[in-house]
Structures are given as C-alpha cells and as structure tokens.
Symmetry: none
Subunit: 207 residues, 4 copies
C-alpha cells in the first residue's frame, strides 16, 4: 500500500467506508455515497476493492479481530491478584467499547446477514490467547479452592463481563433517546455504568 502525502486514497476510502458502515450499516451505505464523501469517482471504489462486499469485509474483519483479540491483552498482569486482573480486563474492554461504541451492532448485524462469514473468521482468529486464558483459569481455581471466590467457571465470568459492557453500548442509543439525555448526561451515565458493571461483576464473584 503506497502512501501519498499522509494517506493513500485507498486508506481514505477505507476510513470513509468504515465511518459510513458504522453509521448506517451495510445495506444503507451505497458505494455512490462513499465515493461522494471521499470525493472520488464511484468506479474507484471498485477499482481498489472489486466489490462492495470485499470492501466491507476488509473493514469488518479488522474490527472483529480488534474486538476479540484484545480481550486478553498481552500486557503482563501477573503481579496482580485474580480479582485485580479481572477488574483490569473489564476496564480495558469497557474502554475499547467506549472508543468504538457502534462496532458491536455492526458485527451482530453482519453475522446475521451472512453467517457463513464466521467460518473464515474463525480460521483467521486462530491466534487464540490460550496462554493468558490458562493462567487466568489457574488463578481462578486457586481462589475458588481458597474459598475466596464462589464456584463458577472462567467462561461464565467472561461472558458476564462482555454482556454487561457490550449491552450498555448497544442499548445506549435507545436509552439516550428514551430519556432525552444530553451529551453530559450520556457521559455521566457511561462513567457510572463503567463502575457499576465492575461492581456487579466482582460482587458476583464473592463466595
């Protein structure tokens, strides 16, 4: 990928398309609209990406990977207690969503639009962070054995964490409109729920 000045045109298309796909979804984003916003010819989109589907998938897979792979970051957390590790992971996850609040909806929609896509994604996601998972699980079993945490599985903890975080951003637009929130109220709610999600998650672990 060549870079002219700061951004190659290909990159501009990718970013514009990403924004539009996130705003309006796949169906409601036409290549015409992308081209108009990029300020280029409609045919150029197809010159670079052959099809709209291609363009979308390239963006989509990036986002999907980002959302799933960063779940167990490569950071070294080994100096922390299990509870502290979970708190840290949950916080990081929340902040990732805070920066990308519309991606979950995009992913859910696209996977219901063409479920076959998951097959190829599954293969590409092979870099599963098995090591980090094992370490965490070891910690957890110790805590349970020590009676410091109630008996529950690591996957359940993770699902609960993801559910709480993701659901907040998925439902935020509805809540926002339903309660007629302004930007500040919205921000405040998000910060409040950031704490409350962790509260519930950790409180729910106690024996």
């Amino acid at each position: 990928m060549e870079v002219n000045e700061n951004q190659s045109i290909e990159q501009i298309i990718l970013e514009t398309a990403e924004r539009l796909f996130l705003e309006k979804g796949y169906e409601s984003t036409s290549t015409t609209k992308i081209a108009r916003e990029v300020g280029c010819n409609q045919a150029l989109i197809h010159y670079y990406f052959r099809t709209k589907e291609n363009l979308f998938n390239r963006i989509f897979e990036d986002k999907f990977r980002m959302l799933f792979q960063q779940l167990f970051s490569t950071e070294n957390l080994s100096h922390l207690s299990f509870t502290e590790k979970i708190r840290h992971i949950a916080q990081t996850h929340f902040e990732l969503l805070e920066k990308n609040p519309r991606i979950p909806l995009l992913i859910l929609n696209e996977l219901s639009r063409q479920p076959e896509q998951l097959k190829s994604l599954r293969e590409k996601l092979h870099a599963y962070p098995e090591k980090a998972f094992k370490e965490l699980n070891g910690d957890l079993q110790q805590e349970i054995a020590a009676g410091k945490i109630r008996n529950c599985s690591l996957p359940d903890i993770i699902v609960t964490m993801i559910s709480l975080n993701v659901a907040l951003f998925l439902m935020m637009p509805v809540v926002e409109q339903l309660l007629m929130f302004d930007k500040n109220q919205k921000k405040a709610l998000i910060q409040h729920r950031k704490e409350e999600n962790i509260n519930f998650l950790l409180a729910g672990l106690r024996p």
Copy 2:
C-alpha cells in the same frame, strides 16, 4: 388465492413479513420477497399496508410494546421478598427473550434507522408501570437500610438484568457459530446462562 380457515391473507402477510424482518432486517427484506413467500402478488402487500414502512411499523410497534410493557408484569408478587421478586422478574424477562430472541436486534437497528420513531413510541408507552416500580424501590430501600443488600439503585439493578439477558441472545448467533454449537449445546448454554445470569445478578446485590 385460497384462504386458510383461520388465517386471513392479511394475517399471513403480517406473519411472513415479521419472520423476514426478524431474519434479515428492514433494508434486506423487500416487498417482492415477502410476496413471493406469501405466494401472492407484490401489489397485494401494498393493497393491505400501503407502504413497506407501514407494514414494518405495525409489526415493530407490537414487538416493542411487548418487550417493554411486560418488563414489570401486573402479576402480584407482593408476597415475595425483594430478592425473590427480582429473581422472578429476571426469569420472566429471560423467558420472554427466549421466545423472541431476534427482537432485540430488530429494535436496536430500527431505532438507529429512524430515531424519530422513539418519540411516538414513548407516547404510546405511557402506561409506564410506575406503581410496580415504586413498590420495588420501597422494598429495595428497606433491604439496604437493613444491611441485607449493598447500596445500589433500582435502575442499576434493572439495567444489569436487562444487559445480561439481552446480551446473551444478541451474541448467541456469534457464539453459536464461533464455537460450532449444535442445537442441544445451544439449548444447554441458554439454560446454563439463565441460571448464571440470575446468580450474578443476585450475588451482585449482596452487601
């Protein structure tokens, strides 16, 4: 075109459209496709509902109402403790979603497609279960005062409950495909999470 004993063509269109809208969303469901599945002329769709938007809204408002109004059912739970009430509500909510697993995604999408609709929905939902809410909140404050529940607000409890339940069904298609679940595994997971959601919710309330 023959009409089934119990079902008028209008009803068949409604049901077919509902299924397709839930499967593919608004944009990806064409009136042509609906007509093809119903087995009638495309013009008939417009004969009964004038516009695609009309047809959709008729379905959508029903679903939306169902999901929100049954949140606090009118059942009398006053003989139960606060914790038992929450457990019951969470279970009922979960079972409602179990029967309508695709509706949350539909709602999230539609409200971002045409946010103005929320205005009219807000008015139509005036039958807000204020009484039930107040009773619950009274119970909660007593429990907190008695030191039986940690200090947290009723809205936070409800948001947590909804998040856990809704997120499960929103993410289920992804999980299902990602982990290559068959129907039984899926069922088992749902039942397991049904309990686990309640576990986390109630465990998270303890002081």
Copy 3:
C-alpha cells in the same frame, strides 16, 4: 338513469370526475382518487363506466359539445344589426368561458393526447348551425357591400373572437401568478378584457 333522493350515484361520479379532470387533467386523475372523493368503492367507477377512458369521454364530449354548439345560440337575434349580433355572440361566448374557464385547456390536451377522438366527435357534432351561419353571413355581405364593414370573411371574424376569448382564460393562470394577482384584481382584469376583446373585435371590423 335512476335518481335516488337528489342525485344518482352515477351522477355523483360524473360530477366528481368532471371536477377532478378539469383540475388535474386526465393522466393525473386516478380512478382511486375519484372513488375516494365520491366516497365509494374504486370498482364502482368501473361498474358504471367500464373504463376510465369511457368515463372521461362521456364528460369530455358533453363539454366539447357545449363549447361548440352554443356558439350560435338558437336565440332569435334577427332584430339586431350585424355588429350588434356579433357583440351579443361574443359576449355570450365570453360568459360561457367565464363559467367554464378550464374546459378549453382540457379539450386542447385531450385532442393532442388522442387525436382519433375527433373523428367520432365530428360525427356527433353534425347538428352544425348552418342556418344561423348563413343568416349572419348574409348580413355581413350586405354590410361590406354598404361599406360599413371592411372586407373580411365571417370565419375570420369568428376565429378572431374565439381566439381573443379563449386565449384570455387559457393564459389567465399564468398572468395571475406572474403578476401576483388576488381574486379582485383577477376579476377586474377579466371584466376589463371582456370589454376590450369586444372593442378590438368590433373596431377591427370597421372599413
């Protein structure tokens, strides 16, 4: 044609259709709209008139006949001078248009839409007022011979009269909007032109 109370439904359809056709023209008036304004079923229009074209023609021929046959009314004008007769005819014609200002445009449009229709109209208009025409022409020749009127043909006089009168009502909507007339100004202009048309017509006859 049966009459219920004051008006048969057939009559109501005819009158409603007439109004709509005059307002919007043939193409822009749908049987749906007619039915809606009549307050009846769409199929009823076709029950009575078989096709939209039929309904239109029935109205159209009436209007066409009215506009052309009343040109030489059956009134006895023989006690008047030629000039007085022309004045009377021109006035009558003008007043006919005043009451039916949109009919000329309807006729012009329809005859350019389906010119074949004129064939059948020509036959139906056989009741051409030959006698009145001959009498007028006799008068005219006498006046010319007596040097009281310049040498010109009766058809030319009639065409001039029709042109002046018809053109006024055809162009009135444009003039009205272009000069931003209100109703009173419009009325005043029409009355003024009524005189002026006759002025020009009669002044143009002088030798």
Copy 4:
C-alpha cells in the same frame, strides 16, 4: 452505444425528451419511452439528469425563456412608426410560434401542474425589457394624443396580440382535424391568419 460526431448522448436525450414532452406532455412521457426512442438504457436518463423532473425543467425553462424574452427583441426599431413597430413585433412573435407551435400548450400545462415554478421563473426572467416597453409606451401616448390611435393601453394591445397569435396555434390541431385539412390547407390557413391577426390588431387601434 455510438456517439454521433456532433451530438453527445446527453444532447440526444435532451432533444428526444423535448420532442416527446411536446407531443404528449409531462405525465404521458415516461423515462422508459424516452430511453427506448434514444436507444439507450433507462438508467442512463437518470445518470445524466437524475430525475424526470430535472430533465423536464431543463427543457422547459429554456422554452419558457425563449418565448417570453424574445417578445421585445433587442432589435432597433426606432426608425419605425408605432404602428409599424407593433406590426413588426406581432410578425416576429407569430413566426416564433410558427417554429414552436406546441410550446404554448406545454407551458400552460406545466404551470398549472406546478405553479410554484413560476416563482423561480419570474426571478430568472428579471431581464424584463423595460426600456423597450417604455419607448413603445411613449410612442403610443403620442399617437393617442395626436388622435391617430384610439385610447387604449399598451398592455391591452400586447395581450390582444399574444391572444390572437397564441390561440391560433393552440387551436390549430382541433381545427385541422375538425375540418380535415391537409398540410397545404393548414399552411395556407396559417399564412392567412398571420395577415388577418395583424389586420385585426392594427384595425382595432384606429380611433
């Protein structure tokens, strides 16, 4: 699709559309029909002009401007007497209509179809020939004062002129069919009325 030496496809579409709009009017001319006659895909019409309305307006405004702005040509007629000037203007106007006989009907129809258009047209026609008008009016007042012309206003003279000329071409299709004229007879009639219109106009001015 091949492009003629001198004519771009866009130009061909414009000319074909103009012909069809003039023949059948706006409503009865479909973009499909235009495309068929042009020999291109229907989508191409929309590629060049986006909407049918756009295409029409582009043609319409040209025609409208042509018909109204050339009314008082910029030619220098100051060496002529008032009567001669009027004769010249009337002739020019007549000849303009002779070359564009169907435009008046188009204009009348369109302005009743969407009267708001007049607003924008009025602004675009600002180049109103005020100077020519004032000069003519000065001449007229002198002639009236000198007793050479009867007391009448310039607008009345102009309206009479336009009425006579326009009405002829508006009514010609009716006359043509009603009297079963062939082309020669039609031509002869037009030439005859060209003189006769001027005769009536000028004769009508005499005191």
